[in-house]
């Protein structure tokens, strides 16, 4: 009721989606901008946190973690341009639930819908259409940023341009993102026309990607345990938004409605080691057989196409209590074939079967510090163990050798040295952060680890 209070903090044990590392944090849940201002005045560095879907320590800060989920309002929608204005804590899942039935779909979406608007900007997320339509910044018209001086700046490609391009992909280290305007695309149906292709080895999947340049959505699932001549055996999945005409008659009546899917949730932690080379091999075999049996073209609803893992709520628990780490790098086009082959060799040689291995072609990039670059990105995850840490070291070295770089939203393992070797932009980012005093107010456990 009375005067705006400094929000009371509470001590909570937090982690990212990978459940490693775990950190005790002072957590604040502000409801208004003035409460954030009060916290900024203390000059203790803080980090904003959305839905905690970064895998590692990007959205953790022991001193002060700002839980932004109360900033969850939709502020405006323009049905002529598809521009949606939303507060930073709005979940992508809410946007989809509201707008798909009205015939709109996000221009850019990551592989989970359980992310916030603020999180998508901070990581400048990319999706299956990056090679064609770029990362989240491509759909972003403007954002409002609360900075160190306690000012709110409207940032866009034409206004406060530098601040804009440092903030997208800036991992929350430039200020607190309050709200943003970004574009949705009109869709005729809620269905994706999907085509799958089996690739017998790495070269073949890359050839298939190159041939599918003009397809809007593409992604490949790799069987990480395949070796020798089968190294890189994969399923390439291609998709386009289906038009109403294309739909089978049974869906055409209500093209924007899709059947409700049963949500499964993982209620308990699996035992550590439940995922081992044997079980992963069995899973991959089944997956491939299943894909081969399916017709090569089919209609898949948006939820199954874009967010296959979201229907398994809490899937991170299958890795057991120790959690898991994800590794994602991108290699430039010139070294991609060779480099990917080396990365997959290393993974399969270590027998550290990755449950999920995703390969994706990326296009050019705009943000000053965003992850993507023209080339191929590979994402792997591993149950947390001492051996995994060794494999990560090797994978990082290979990435450096082939001129690649790393996705900070997935990272919990890099060293300051390796990050700098991988990416010349780091030094500039750090200089700007110092010069603008951002270091005084904004830091995460990740930025501390990587000396950002």
């Amino acid at each position: 009721m009375s005067s705006p209070m400094t929000p009371r903090g509470s001590l909570k044990t937090l982690c990212g989606w990978g459940r490693y590392p775990v950190q005790t944090c002072h957590v604040y849940c502000p409801r208004s901008e003035s409460e954030i201002l009060q916290l900024l005045k203390r000059d203790l560095p803080l980090i904003a946190r959305g839905n905690g879907r970064a895998y590692g320590d990007s959205a953790l800060n022991g001193e002060a973690t700002l839980q932004m989920r109360h900033f969850n309002r939709l502020l405006g929608f323009n049905p002529h341009t598809g521009q949606l204005i939303a507060e930073a804590g709005v979940l992508l899942a809410e946007i989809l639930e509201i707008f798909v039935p009205r015939g709109w779909f996000p221009l850019i979406t990551p592989g989970t819908k359980f992310v916030t608007v603020g999180g998508m900007i901070a990581a400048d997320v990319h999706g299956k259409n990056h090679h064609k339509e770029g990362s989240f910044v491509q759909s972003l018209d403007w954002l409002d940023l609360l900075t160190s001086e306690g000012q709110i700046y409207r940032c866009s490609p034409s206004e406060n341009q530098d601040l804009f391009y440092w903030t997208v992909g800036g991992m929350g280290l430039t200020g607190v993102i309050l709200r943003a305007a970004f574009r949705l695309r009109p869709i005729e149906t809620a269905w994706i026309r999907q085509t799958t292709r089996i690739a017998k080895h790495l070269d073949e999947v890359i050839d298939l990607f190159e041939a599918a340049q003009d397809v809007t959505y593409s992604v490949a699932w790799i069987d990480c345990l395949a070796t020798g001549s089968q190294l890189g055996r994969s399923v390439l999945i291609l998709g386009e938004h289906a038009t109403r005409e294309e739909l089978p008659a049974k869906y055409r009546q209500r093209p924007l409605r899709t059947p409700q899917r049963r949500k499964l949730s993982i209620p308990v932690d699996f035992p550590n080691g439940a995922l081992n080379p044997l079980t992963v091999r069995a899973f991959n075999q089944l997956y491939f057989l299943n894909q081969q049996r399916q017709a090569s073209q089919s209609f898949v609803d948006w939820d199954r196409f874009f967010y296959p893992l979201d229907s398994l709520l809490g899937w991170n628990r299958i890795y057991g209590r120790r959690g898991f780490v994800q590794f994602q790098c991108v290699l430039p086009l010139s070294t991609a074939r060779e480099g990917l082959s080396a990365l997959l060799h290393c993974t399969s040689a270590a027998g550290a079967g990755s449950f999920l291995a995703v390969l994706k072609k990326l296009g050019d990039q705009q943000g000053y510090f965003s992850f993507p670059m023209a080339g191929y990105t590979l994402a792997l995850d591993f149950p947390m163990s001492q051996r995994t840490l060794k494999v990560l070291d090797q994978l990082e070295e290979i990435t450096l050798h082939y001129g690649g770089r790393f996705y900070l939203a997935k990272d919990s393992h890099l060293t300051p040295m390796r990050l700098r070797q991988s990416d010349a932009r780091v030094e500039t980012f750090v200089k700007v952060r110092d010069a603008q005093q951002w270091t005084v107010n904004f830091a995460s456990e990740q930025s501390k680890r990587l000396h950002l």
């Binding site: 009721m1 009375s2 929000p7 405006g76």
Partner: protein, 244 residues
Amino acid sequence: MRAPVLILGATSDMGRAIAQRFAAQGYPIQLAARQVSRLEPDKADLEIRYGVAVSVHEFDVLAVETHASFIQQLPEQPAIVICVVGFMPEQKACEQDLSLTLEVMRTNYEGPAVILSLFANVFEQRGFGALVGISSVAGERGRASNYFYGSAKAGFTAFLSGLRHRLAKSGIQVLTVLPGYVKTRMTEGMRLPPLLTAQPQEVANAIFTAIEKKKDVIYVRPIWRWIMVIIRWIPEPLFKRLSL
């Protein structure tokens, strides 16, 4: 078209959840709070999500002299009024600060009782409507740790009970809501037992159902009814020695 639902104290976590619940059912919404500018984002949000009409109104629960004109200037008289207003500072601070003590008593009892009794007159004449007061289990028995807040809520509970008695014949529903612990800004930083702690959305759902079913008094989590039976029945000599 349906008559709107008015929410007094609409910037609170519970107020927001209640507004969403009723808007999701297609009710037009009137949001009222002291800082009316803070309601604009909620207005936009409810309109975009649910396609209902939303209006915002300045309302200061402590300025009781303005309450009659507040009701008069509403563009349309609501079908349902839900008073979510509440203020719970530290008990220790209240003991030392008379103005804070008064603010607690006036915010939790005087203001809500005044505005609801004015609405009662309007509703009685009109012959339909529902009045909802969010009171508290803290009002069921005074405790050392919380008796300023508790006594004001006790007064509010008694007020609602009397109002219900009066309006029983005229078909106006008066609903007393006893939420127990709720995870809101008011309880932030407190260690609350998860089994006894509701989310704001649960409170909103409970109110929505209670209005449909014409209930009189609800505990949001049923377990609180039994807890409060026990607390009320502890003999005073023993109660004095417990730390509750």
